[in-house]
Amino acid sequence: MDKAERTRQEITEAGYRCIARWGVSRSTMSDLAREAGMSRATLYRYFPGGREALINQVIKDAVARFFESLYEEVGESSSLEEVLERGLLSAHKAIENHDVLQSVLRNEPEALHPAMDEAVALVHEQMVAFLVPFLESYGVASGVTIPEAADFLARMLLSHMASPGRWDLADPGEVAKLVRGELLAGVRA
């Protein structure tokens, strides 16, 4: 990482601290500059798109970090079922316990967009890529292709982890039922 990238990263981290403290709407460019330890003019040099661009970057970065640690946690799994079950249990817990996210959702959910919309497309692609090797190892039913299975699973996993609906994702039994029953029934060979 060169110096400029490192500084952008530090600014992004400072941005996250501001949002954690004041929320998105109330974090002004002055607040962000102060937290990053620089003048507003300098801040604009690193983020010519201004406050929106910076907030955008902070959100996307937070999403990226969330999934990085999720993939790290479940990467060691020895079966497709295990990946999905551990993934859902972990992700659900992490989202519930994510104070900053929960606070933004409570007070200013629209502040997450459009950054969140952009992040979702990327997250979907990454999850598909993550699932493909597992599907290749463990096989899919005839009549289903690996890309289609990965696409469908990625969609359903993201949907469930963010919005459990009627499922109790804190209960490993329910998660197993969801994964082995609903999600994998059509996929598995």
Binding site: I95, L105, P109, E110, L112, H113, P114, M116, D117, V120, A121, H124, G143, V144, E148, D151, F152, R155, M156, L158, S159, H160, A162, S163, P164, G165, R166, K177, R180, G181, E182, L183, A185, G186, V187
Partner: protein
């Protein structure tokens, strides 16, 4: 703004009001205002919709407008949303009642909902001008509420073939699918087309629904009977 109010499932009273609105009472100020607001949103979206513009479209004075909707813009938006939702559910209910098999019912639920959304001018306008107004409602807890409401409304239509628990799960799943493809369109599947919806239902939903039915937690049933019930007849 509109968020909080969309969250509650339709109350008896408000559905009765909407039913009244649907009757041919075009002279009613209220229905003219709701129609005008819908038309205005179809053109400029929600944020840029003004009371003045709605009044002009409805050919009513602002005073009349405020008499029917003393709270101003937000109650009008709520009335628009409730009216459109009621119209949608009525249409979907008719189609779902006509389905002969579970498979058909799932395909209808998915393809008709997708198709309705795709051709809904006001919704598409908001989606193109101010997408955050829509996507904010389709994630996290807001989405949970949509899942609960949508599944409660459509589950009875699956009850011909599934237990009430399984019907709720299937209805919730169908809702997730519609929303997922709405937020993240697919290059290969257009779920407004029955053939594409059928592809998805056959490949993933039916096996999943059957697997949940045959789950050990429930009273054991013969798989054959289960499959027949789901795919074959009554």
């Amino acid at each position: 703004m509109i968020a909080r109010d969309l969250k509650s499932p339709p109350r008896e009273g408000s559905l009765a009001t909407i039913a009244h609105l649907e009757l041919d009472n075009r002279s009613s100020s209220r229905i003219r205002i709701v129609d005008a607001a819908l038309a205005e949103i179809s053109e400029v979206g929600v944020t840029r919709m003004t009371m003045e513009a709605v009044a002009a479209r409805a050919k009513l004075s602002r005073a009349t407008l405020y008499r029917s909707f003393p709270g101003g813009k937000d109650p009008i938006l709520l009335a628009v949303a409730e009216t459109e939702l009621a119209r949608f559910w009525a249409q979907l209910a008719r189609s779902l009642s006509a389905a002969d098999q579970l498979r058909e019912a799932l395909v209808v639920a998915i393809s008709e909902t997708t198709s309705y959304i795709q051709s809904h001018e006001a919704f598409q306008r908001v989606l193109s001008l101010e997408p955050e107004l829509i996507s904010a409602h389709l994630e996290f807890q807001s989405m949970d509420e949509i899942l609960l409401t949508a599944s409660a409304i459509t589950a009875p239509f699956f009850a011909r073939w599934l237990s009430s628990t399984d019907s709720l799960r299937a209805a919730e799943w169908a809702t997730r699918i519609v929303v997922s493809y709405l937020l993240t369109p697919s290059a290969s599947l257009d779920l407004s087309k029955p053939e594409d919806a059928t592809y998805l239902v056959d490949r993933f939903m039916i096996p999943g629904v059957l697997a949940l039915k045959d789950d050990v937690h429930q009273a054991p049933q013969s798989s054959k009977t289960t499959k027949q019930l789901a795919l074959g007849g009554k």
